[in-house]
């Protein structure tokens, strides 16, 4: 029997020690009259080899050679092998939340270093040990603003990813918090948004760069919010922060984001990594695990989980959040990624992404009937096609390209628009191939 060590003779010895004649008798003592269920669909067991073959077969039914230009918040970045190698150490993966700090210094120091990396990247003072994903982190940031201000209204920009906006709506459905969604625009009209920041507004929530890939200067909006004692929250793309003005410098009160681009595989939607950072003055309103540096009895430096008194296992229904675990192993991966890519390497990766995106946009705009918008962007941009983008994407898939995300799926008035993301993994030839295939498909459609 795999994974169960007990042999038949040991079982008999142990039953005797427990004082029962058989397992059935033990079960009867515990369960009383409960009878064994019968299973209709659960199969009999299989060997490791057979299960591996079955799953490899399923994996093979997924696209493995598709050229990916889809982003929308989740990016196909290169992950150096060494990241998976060190994060795969089972001393990390097979341990629990570090409740016993004396034997968890590895995990704890890694969390502390991860928190530090997030602070350095965002230019904020304090970060938690991570959350489930960018969307849940965004929601938790909103709740933080509600706790800090005592107000129960949040203004969410229409240029925030619809994935996160629908998650916010879902989470707020039973809470006394009003969500105000502004109309989606490629670039925000600060004055009209500022008018929405009423005295009962807790926070204004934006994305940086926004869902259309546009890089916006949020300082005027942050300023307008601050004048009204409204907090500003952003969801940032961490890879872009290698080159962009950090959110802390811009003046955001809470910074969150999806950490997938920092060394985590796309993995069909998870596990991912939500990061959340803020200023020290708000630290006690921040949800999630936090690791702190201290000393042991002998004065030796060490790390512990701290500020735990605010958490659900102690505060129960009064806790900051119901979240129990963080995404420890994902945070470790992000730390490993940032370590091995390094200070200059991250800038280089961002530069390569940005340059390839510019190159790709030029190539695509050369195609007859393809238009663009003249807006600043990092590695993702919108093009307008002469025909419905969803149809084009379908035909591109048959040619081996995931050409981008058709915005009509989220925005009814953008049916002809395609959101194209380019990472450092796409070569010049890949990009030329994309342009050639798109031109051919558009010719078909005409």
């Amino acid at each position: 029997m795999p994974y169960v060590a007990m042999t038949e003779s040991e079982k008999q010895q142990m039953l005797a020690q427990v004082g029962v004649g058989s397992l059935d008798e033990l079960w009867r003592q515990i369960l009383g009259a409960e009878t064994l269920p019968s299973f209709e669909r659960l199969p009999c067991g299989s060997s490791e080899l057979k299960v591996t073959r079955h799953l490899a077969g399923l994996a093979h039914r997924n696209a493995t050679d598709l050229m990916c230009f889809v982003g929308s918040g989740f990016y196909d970045h290169f992950i150096p092998a060494v990241v998976g190698e060190v994060a795969g150490r089972t001393e990390f993966s097979t341990s629990y939340t570090p409740y016993q700090p004396e034997v968890s210094q590895g995990t704890l120091q890694a969390i502390y270093e991860y928190q530090s990396a997030i602070c350095r990247l965002t230019d904020m003072e304090v970060a938690n040990a991570s959350m489930y994903d960018g969307g849940t982190a965004f929601f938790e940031a909103m709740m933080m603003a509600v706790r800090i201000t005592g107000r129960r209204r949040a203004v969410v920009l229409g240029s925030v990813s619809p994935i996160y906006r629908t998650m916010l709506q879902c989470y707020c459905s039973n809470l006394d918090v009003e969500l105000v969604m502004t109309p989606p625009a490629l670039q925000a009209d600060v004055r009209s948004i500022a008018d929405l920041l009423t005295p009962d507004t807790a926070c204004v929530m934006v994305q940086y760069p926004n869902v259309f890939g546009v890089v916006e200067d949020w300082r005027p909006l942050i300023e307008a919010a601050r004048e009204r004692q409204v907090l500003s929250v952003c969801s940032a793309y961490p890879m872009a922060l290698a080159r962009l003005m950090p959110p802390g410098q811009m003046g955001f009160d809470v910074v969150t984001g999806e950490g997938q681009s920092l060394g985590l595989p796309l993995s069909f939607g998870g596990p991912y990594l939500g990061f959340l950072a803020t200023w020290m003055k708000y630290v006690r309103k921040m949800p999630g695990r936090i690791c702190g540096r201290t000393v042991d009895q002998n004065g030796k430096p060490g790390f512990v989980l701290t500020l735990q008194a605010r958490e659900q296992h102690i505060r129960r229904e009064k806790a900051m959040s119901n979240i129990c675990t963080n995404e420890g192993l994902c945070a470790l991966r992000a730390l490993a990624y940032l370590t091995f890519v390094g200070k200059q390497g991250l800038v280089d990766v961002a530069d390569v992404c940005a340059a390839k995106a510019v190159f790709a946009r030029e190539q695509l705009l050369r195609i007859e009937g393809v238009r663009g918008y003249d807006v600043p962007f990092f590695n993702e941009f919108v093009i307008r096609l002469p025909v419905e983008a969803g149809e084009v994407v379908g035909r591109m898939i048959e040619r081996g390209f995931a050409a981008g995300f058709p915005l009509g799926r989220y925005f009814a008035d953008r049916r002809n628009e395609l959101l194209v993301a380019v990472t450092e993994k796409r070569t010049r030839e890949d990009i030329r191939g994309l342009a050639a295939a798109l031109e051919a498909v558009l010719n078909e459609c005409r």
Partner: protein, 485 residues
Amino acid sequence: MQLIYEKSFPGRRGTSLPELDVPAGNALPPTLLRQKPAELPEVSELDGVRHFVNLSRRNVSVDTCFYPLGSCTMKYNPKFHDRIADLPGFADLHPLLPQLRHGGALTQGALAVLYETETLLCDLLGFAAFTMQPLAGAHGELTGVMMMAAYHKDRGEKRSVMLIPDSAHGTNPASAALAGFEARTIGTDANGNTDVEALRRALSKDVAGIMLTCPSTLGLFDPNIREICRCVHEAGGLVYGDGANFNALLGRVRPGDLGVDVAHVNLHKTFATPHGGGGPGAGPVGVCEKLVPYLPTSRVMKRADGSYVLEYQFPKTIGYIAPFYGNFGVIVKAYAYMLTLGRDGLRRVSDAAVLNANYLRAHLRQAYHEPFDRPCMHECVLSAKHQIKQGVHALDIAKALLDAGFHPPTIYFPLVVPEAIMIEPTETESKQTLDAFIQAMLDIARLAETDPARVKAAPRTTPVARLDETRAARSLDLASRPAAP
């Protein structure tokens, strides 16, 4: 050990990165550029590897020692699961692909994994449907209680109270609060069961339901569970089952058969996916027929031709609880686990988990106080009541175990047992390991009698001694800052 930032040297480079093969340039706004690079580590690949490998050696884990952390089910995590999750067909798959036209055909394998895992879980727990979206156990709880809220709202009922036994995990009341409920506590009776009389008195038309953990956090199977479900249903409420302890019931008891309406399971506990030092986990939620309309969207469906498709049109859904379809990389491991063990293997898991726990109980109750004298399930809850007379607390016993080479059990939980020591051996441990642990526990109990100061001085052999948590909380040092230029 030095921080990675302290090991950095200006200009040192790590790993080889993809080259620039197009003209340099960007479309970033010049006024919004970062003035100087973020102060990330600057180490060689070798120095970085040494850093992480040495960090890992400062951890204990299931793969290094016995880890009987109660309520956490620290069982062995089969290694081939990791290989499977890393297959390019799974790891490199963009989650938006099935949302593109003709994209569904390119994700049939991944959708099959989700659908088939749901199917197996439905069979195993006795439910009509499952959602794989919740990203952790507490996230599953939240999803479940949100469905309960949606159910009552849909029926035009205002039910604002959630009943929660005092032995429950702290996440239960926290999740209930986040779903807009007022948590009300139900006590535990003298036998360690939910106080049924108190429950009957608490039921009213304001009660949305109850959140039960089965077996309870005391490691006990509540013989009244069917009666509890009946009472709650009669009062118009729903029963939430916290499946954190489902390892004890695998293949033996199905929550759906007991009358539970909605329950989550922790794939990182029962289904052998790694805990990862605190995540990522996965907390799929199963529901009975009447709660199916409220499941999160999207859902994976199987067409008559055998293909899989994502469906979005569910008017009563609670919405999107996660960005996509759940922690897929975790789910695929749990699927492999269920296929490997199968119906008989899963039943043997609960057999061995329960026998191992009772075996520990049979030996340890000689030396440690046992609050409830009856057979336990997958874990046994003892207390340091005898030892505190010598000034030795549960915490001291835990630290002494570190010196004996074991990860300690959960301590001070459940809250209803003062000085609780909650031991969950799991099924994957051998009798030899259990015997060694028993010996260590008995030695510590003896030492607590003869030389309590020695117990209180533990641990001595760990990389650091007991840490100053008061200092950590008073003078907060939560991030290392770059040196001033």
